[in-house]
């Protein structure tokens, strides 16, 4: 009995059950919601969020109040860089990927240096960096046109790639496998959990804590950059602050995936389910016919309700 209850209390299982329930709800509210085409479209949107959440996930796992509020800014920046580097030509895809990854890694590095060397709390450091990134976006936008996605990139994101499934979903699956291997099978992954659950013990055991933490922020920046690139492919051209929505939704996806904001506990498989859950919920709300205010109220209330299913803090005991 307790084995069964504990099985159903696993965040991944909770998320999967909720996903099925929401799909069923969506299908009954508007027939065709759970059709294969629609599910593929939801998966594309979820993969964009999921890729950002991958970086957010490792930063949060690394503990010490780890959080990256600058991901939204990096997504927007990366979309505009990619649009300008490729400017509608397939030949520009590879340089664009390199340029975006470099930019993401650079801002991640700055975040990491601020958090480790100056010991600025991650929330403050990445919040400040978000302001800098938003300012930078204004500067870039004034000087140059917003640029266009290469047809190859758009096809990769929106058109079937293999077995009728778009390339970005394959990319997301690959990232999922990569994250699972990295977190569970590599020294680096184990060290993330180590510094997340007890930084001091990890330091005493010889883990290069500062270097690790800088690395985590760089990973977060690079995942956000990849997402920005794919977002450009999804929408065709970049527009102001496309990435803003990812700042807090990536954190919610991680939380819905069962990763504790305190660090050291959780994984990416749950986060993938969390991202999907969030996107399906938003999908249902856009299909039902209520005005914006009602939609926001229902969305907020549902998020709160869903959070009750996940790890609540412990009650105080004497």
């Amino acid at each position: 009995m307790s084995a069964i209850t504990s099985f159903f209390k696993q965040p991944l299982i909770v998320a999967l059950i909720l996903i099925v329930a929401l799909l069923y709800l969506g299908q009954s509210l508007s027939p065709g919601f759970a059709s294969a085409d629609q599910i593929l479209r939801l998966l594309i949107v979820a993969s964009l969020l999921g890729i950002v959440a991958a970086g957010q996930n490792v930063v949060i796992l690394g503990g010490r109040e780890g959080i990256d509020l600058s991901v939204g800014g990096v997504v927007s920046l990366s979309a505009i860089i990619a649009g300008n580097v490729m400017n509608g030509a397939d030949g520009g895809i590879l340089p664009a990927v390199l340029a975006c990854l470099t930019a993401g890694a650079f801002f991640g590095l700055l975040n990491g240096l601020g958090v480790t060397l100056l010991r600025i709390p991650p929330l403050v450091m990445t919040l400040g960096m978000l302001g800098v990134l938003q300012g930078l976006l204004v500067v870039i936008r004034q000087g140059i046109p917003s640029g266009r996605a290469a047809p190859g990139l758009s096809a990769f994101v929106t058109q079937p790639f293999a077995f009728g499934i778009p390339g970005i979903i394959w990319l997301w699956i690959a990232i999922g496998l990569f994250m699972a291997l990295m977190l569970n099978r590599t020294v680096f992954g184990h060290r993330i959990y180590a510094i997340g659950s007890n930084e001091h013990a990890a330091y005493m055991a010889g883990v290069p804590v500062r270097l690790m933490r800088i690395g985590l922020f760089m990973i977060s920046g690079m995942f956000a950059a990849i997402a920005g690139l794919c977002l450009l492919g999804y929408s065709g051209s970049s527009f102001a602050n496309v990435g803003e929505q990812y700042m807090l939704s990536s954190i919610i996806a991680v939380v819905f995936g069962g990763t504790s904001l305190a660090g050291g506990k959780g994984g990416y498989t749950g986060t993938m389910a969390g991202a999907l859950l969030l996107v399906i919920l938003q999908g249902i709300l856009t299909t039902v016919n209520i005005d914006e205010s009602g939609r926001q109220m229902v969305f907020g209330a549902t998020l709160l309700l869903l959070m009750l299913f996940y790890g609540r803090g412990r009650a105080m005991r004497a």
Partner: protein, 330 residues
């Protein structure tokens, strides 16, 4: 021990530390004065009584919101819905004042209801975070979406004007002094009275070590809810100042201010982890953000670079605030 030089230096450092301990907002004050001086250097006019009054009435809303945020941060929590609460109160009072005719009685009644709405938002946050034990960052983000939905329901599009009586009073003068100074004075009295009560000490105790506070008999859940109630109250006051300044209702006006309020708290030298906060610092921190923005303008920064320079300057003063705050606590 060996040389007098080290002794004097260490006693000097200790003296500074005790000063910082007693007045934790000192670094923020220094930054603020430096910014004022820079503002005066680039545009002497910006130090005139008139422009300083203007600055104060524009940033009073952020000052209030930063103070609101300080009380939850004291207990180690955070409120990402403070800006949405502000928006909700803003649209609610504007709609109510308009519906009730815009007279003095209508304004006062609407303000009273505004306070109640702010408190209700705070109560919801407190229950969700402290009683239901959801994580503060994500839970208050969810409530912020809910409050924004409510604000959009009350006023779907921005632009309903506030009655002239209200914004003329806020922007005008009373007995020869700008009204905003009376707001500041009332705020000072309110903060002083609050600092004399147990609630601030209890909030700080919970923020410093929740378990220890619980074991010494502090009703942790109730205290954290009270923190959110104070946050809701000051968010409502912030909405009053904002409405007085913008003279209209906007259901999305507060969204961007939430993160600034967190930044102002950190700038003021408070620890985001809780247990060590200063409302005066938050007040100065909010004004610092205002001065950074005006300085970037007066320096003649090209318009497209203004946001970037502002962002960079705020990041730098944030770092300074954290480093100075830590020195004070160490």
């Amino acid at each position: 021990m060996t040389s007098t030089a080290t002794d004097t230096r260490s006693s000097g450092a200790a003296g500074l530390r005790s000063w910082l301990e007693r007045y934790p907002f000192l670094p923020a004050l220094v930054i603020l004065i430096a910014l004022l001086a820079l503002n005066g250097l680039f545009s002497p006019n910006s130090l005139s009584f008139r422009s300083l009054t203007g600055l104060l009435s524009t940033y009073m809303a952020l000052v209030m919101l930063a103070i609101a945020q300080t009380y939850v941060v004291s207990a180690g929590d955070i409120d990402l819905s403070a800006g949405a609460t502000l928006s909700l109160v803003n649209v609610a009072i504007v709609v109510l004042m308009e519906r009730w005719g815009g007279g003095a009685g209508a304004v006062l009644l609407a303000l009273a209801l505004g306070v109640l709405i702010g408190l209700a938002c705070g109560l919801i946050n407190g229950i969700v975070v402290a009683a239901l034990r959801l994580q503060a960052i994500v839970a208050t983000f969810a409530t912020s979406i809910f409050f924004t939905g409510l604000a959009l329901y009350v006023m779907p599009v921005a632009g309903t004007p506030a009655p002239a009586l209200f914004w003329r009073t806020y922007g005008g003068r009373l007995f020869g002094l700008p009204f905003v100074f009376y707001v500041l004075a009332a705020l000072a009295v309110l903060l002083y009275l609050l600092s004399r009560t147990r609630i601030v000490t209890e909030l700080l105790a919970v923020g410093d070590d929740q378990q220890a506070a619980y074991q010494t008999g502090v009703p942790v859940v109730a205290v954290r809810i009270k923190g959110y109630l104070l946050c809701g109250l000051f968010s409502a006051l912030s909405a009053f100042c904002l409405t007085g300044d913008t003279a209209s209702g906007d259901p999305l006006v507060g969204g961007k201010m939430t993160l600034y309020s967190v930044a102002a708290v950190v700038l003021g030298g408070s620890a985001l982890a809780g247990g060590w906060t200063t409302v005066v610092g938050s007040l100065l921190g909010a004004l610092t953000i205002g001065l950074v923005n005006s300085l970037v303008f007066f320096m003649g920064t090209p318009s497209e670079w203004q946001n970037f320079v502002q962002g960079l300057a705020i990041l730098l003063v944030l770092m300074a605030g954290v480093l100075a705050g830590r020195r004070a606590r160490a």
